[in-house]
Symmetry: D2
Subunit: 355 residues, 4 copies
């Protein structure tokens, strides 16, 4: 039997308790310590998982040679120093999204992990849900054909965040999912973003983000804190089939439609009329695959352990976190310029193994 | 009792039969003639309304002094010459949307009608539906408060049009509705549009259109010919209430939510923390008003007659058609420049009475 | 090419115009005459199908040797005399549901048609819809396995009929469908019916009808004129799969669920505990077959012609009308006795060929 | 400030942990002990609420004079002996539904509690949900007018219980709700029940229960363990308004429809034609009241304390448990006689204070 790995959870705020609970319940891990500057918060989390030690000192935790990995759930602006220190101490790292507050800092983190031969996992939790794993599988096996468009809506009457706008708050979910299900991940040269702050809340409360995808396709996200109704829906249209994921419909979360438009290949180069004659419409069956029930975070925790043991990059590695971050940074720039298209920094270099 | 007005329907294609049926059934109108270059098509339409005369000659129709008005349902590129000829002949005119194929031609038409003192009605049919009239009323009586955002989705597996892209095909519906329900109509300085033609169909099949509204608000439209599921939904968020119009739910087409975010006025100028402290959330009742059942086109036909008799502009006048057209033209320009914001030509001057 | 058959439509009330329109449009039929005591009503129907002759005399119509068949859409209490006269005149007959107002009269009609070698079709229109034909096919090919239960809900704010209660108004739809999709048709020994007339309208406005099916299964119908929401849903549960037909959801009218309870065969005879141990639950995929779009009545009209030409019983023959009628009559008796189970008259004898 | 009451939770199976958690969190109660024959189960529950004492001896618990009340969550067949012992020991009692396994035993329990002047609460948890409390309020204030019909559907792919059929498993929910919202509670003279066991599971897996209500109204329940889709819906039709409660729609759980049929009063005694002339249909607005969010069991726990302190019967008293039980017992009898109507034992005598 494999020996368990030892992990420290750093940050006992909103997400830390979920991490602690899942590491504690995992056969792969020993939860060694919960670390937070606020001892009371750390103790609260430790109590709920049956009495794990706590620490107020990150240095102490990192200095402990028995600890293999740290799972970081602190505010985004603190990711860079904590991750860099953890890597310097030889620890494998999982870190909340967004990976960092700037692309430049994110690149440093990813580079450093690669140099040290350590695992750096971005906790894109949605990518470990059964439905997203199924979507990735459907695309990988070419059930959808070529991707034509992705349209995502994530709206709700939501908490107006004190420090980030609605794009930084919600779009990372959509971007991390799109990055995960597209073979090769997001590779958009530019992005446009529109937003509005009609309540004068100090930041955009309604946001739209658009980016071109390979082959003339397009991805679009609508995020909104002001909607009275809650919608979490993503449509991924393909040449063969189109899927609709309605996350609020537990009875039929994922539907795959064998419907679409077919254009005969030769018609693409001919005249308008000839082209019209070669368009046809498919109205086939709909299929809704059964999905297993399991908690996404348990999957992340298992993948973190597996990637460490197998010496490989995790499914949601630092590079994926970097791609998401690059789009967010470009979206911020576009938003500040009234929606003018803004180039996305290409971070693919950093994610390749060095020769 | 008022005497009936006499009308000619010009164009017996897709929309003409609906016009003919509604004019024939109206107590305000005598349907004098159905006019189309294709006699067989004209006859088909005439037969279905009980044997009205037909004509293949527009000149003949316009020369007939007994005819008060013409209702034009021909392709958009023909609107300018036909409308100009009808106005020159002293006829009142209703014309299919879009008003014209360019803003410049649309302005000529509107100017000419005003000079002649004739009614020019743009047939924005949706504006005569019970639900849109109710929405206009709710906004006018300030039930929603200040408008914060408008989000419209109109997607379906739709016919790829041979001559126009999805924005020109579908967005006029949304734009005409928004223009109608907003007091003062659309007044956006710029517009951005994104689109994709991932099937190489020769025109955008997926489109997004965004424009700023007064007071920091935003309007956004998603139109799509490639979606396997049909959605026709508009959300209009306000400071007091938010409405959701789901046109495919006949049992609850319109819902008004007394839910939202309130920001205490003084907080808007203070620091982040103080501001957070002054945000509150309302979770009140939902209300779905009963809507009368009547055909929209019957309302348009009645409004056309009333505006002629009362010597006033119709509810959907030429100026509204011009505002919609200006946004479409700007959207086309933005689309061709990868979504860069494009100014919208201000046409308000032309819609004002000349001194 | 086959020669067309000649048909007279008798009855120009609510349903007659639909019959006339479909016979007129059919390649199988010549619509010879529309017959109604009220000449004006007959003329109205005749006009709408392009000027067919009318008649006010049934005798005249039946005496015409060029007429092959009559399609009867008169009130239920008149079915017996009209059908008997038509059969006596050697005409094939289609007749509105319910077949007759009593089982005894229905039996006479079916017996007479058989003796004469004439087709007697009961117009169970729902049985010609694409969705019901698909359901029949799924059951016939054993996709559902053994039937476990059928539950049908048909409720709406409906017109309170002047002469029949809600069970006689609405349940014939459900019964004819169940009869059509079950191999062998309805074969229930007893039926129970409950109802209520809480508005003192003079007849039940809410009704429930239950009957045992073969193999311990059960069928249940809920019909209701007082519901503010409209529901038309039927669930058919089987040992292999279960289907849900939601007739008000055009985007997914029919869903087939690979979900259910499995009981290992040996467990059925053992003790409670052993049995519990042998129960398992399947949570498989859901599948929604694409359905063709066509008008049901066109299918009925084609089947009427085919059964005449091929000298065979039609898909919805007199015997099926008789089975539905027997259940309705028994339900009436149960309702009048506070829901006590009432035997259903077995009419299967009459539908068999005589030796 | 009021002193806390002391409670023992008896039974640490499925429901006990929820009771323990809510009593532990309540400002009204001290959770003194968790009692179960199985020490390990008791300890598990005690641990999760922060280390309460456990006991394996009911006698010991009842002998403790510091304990004011016991909350019983053991199997139904054990309710009678445990409740009688607790009452004999002078403890107030809350007990899981159904109150007992027979009406006769239930009557003994209710009589005994009354004689002793102790509170006996039946834990009809649904009656403490915000939605059911709102429904009761709407009916009490006559928003619905006279009740015309109640139709409840509670179906799902559910666990086949080893000891009870689907009516005893699920219908107590519907019956306790109906009893709670109807002024005066359920007062049905008879009940009919149909069921089926098509899988030979040893008990009905599909069940229907019907009972007449005052004024010619009707109540009907459909419970089903074999449905692939989950529905939890109750419609309550009234002369003024009708409400629909869809418990699986958190965004609009309760809708109140101002729709219905109106019959002019004088018409009820006149002829059919006159009556028809006096029927009209209302199609008014729909209204969905906002509902507070709170856990139902917290409300039960508070009501238990309040009824003890105020020396009054609780909202869901023993008598309500008895009314529900009487219907279930009659339903069982009806089911065993093929759905023949069966009289419901009138238990109202026992719930009245003795003079």
């Amino acid at each position: 039997m494999t020996e368990r790995l030892s992990v420290a959870v750093v940050g006992a705020g909103y997400w830390g308790p979920n991490l602690a609970r899942n590491f504690a319940a995992s056969p792969d891990w020993d939860l060694a310590v919960v670390c937070d500057l606020d001892a009371q918060r750390a103790q609260g989390v430790a109590d709920r998982v049956g009495g794990v030690p706590i620490s107020q000192s990150l240095d102490e935790v990192l200095a402990d040679p028995s600890i293999d990995a740290v799972a970081i759930a602190t505010p985004a602006r603190t990711h860079h120093p904590i991750v860099m220190a953890a890597l310097a101490a030889g620890k494998h790292v999982s870190v909340e999204k967004p990976l960092a507050d700037t692309v430049a800092r994110g690149i440093e983190m990813v580079d450093r992990a690669r140099e040290q031969g350590l695992v750096l996992l971005t906790d894109h939790t949605y990518c470990y849900t059964p439905v997203v794993m199924k979507i990735r599988e459907l695309i990988a096996e070419e059930s959808l054909g070529d991707i034509l468009f992705i349209d995502s809506v994530r709206i709700n009457l939501g908490l107006i965040q004190p420090d980030v706008d609605v794009l930084w708050d919600l779009a990372p979910h959509d971007l991390s999912i799109i990055d995960f299900v597209l073979p090769g991940g997001i590779d958009a040269p530019t992005v446009t973003a529109q937003g509005a702050d009609p309540l004068s809340a100090g930041r955009a409360c309604v946001g739209y983000l658009t980016m071109p995808l390979a082959g003339g396709a397009i991805a679009h996200m609508h995020v909104n804190w002001l909607s009275p109704t809650k919608i979490r829906q993503m449509v991924i249209g393909g040449t063969r089939r189109t899927l609709v994921w309605d996350d609020l419909n537990p009875q039929q979360r994922l539907s795959v439609y064998d419907r679409g438009v077919d254009i005969a290949e030769q018609s693409k180069v001919t005249t308008t009329d000839a082209r019209a004659a070669n368009i046809s419409y498919r109205l086939g069956d709909t299929w809704s695959p059964a999905l297993p029930e399991h908690e996404a975070l348990a999957g992340m925790v298992a993948e973190f352990a597996a990637s460490i043991r197998e010496g490989r990059g995790p499914r949601t590695d630092g590079a994926s976190g970097l791609r998401v971050l690059s789009v967010l940074e470009a979206a911020k720039a576009s938003l500040s310029r009234a929606g003018a298209p803004h180039p996305v920094q290409n971070t693919s270099r950093v994610s390749e193994p060095q020769s």
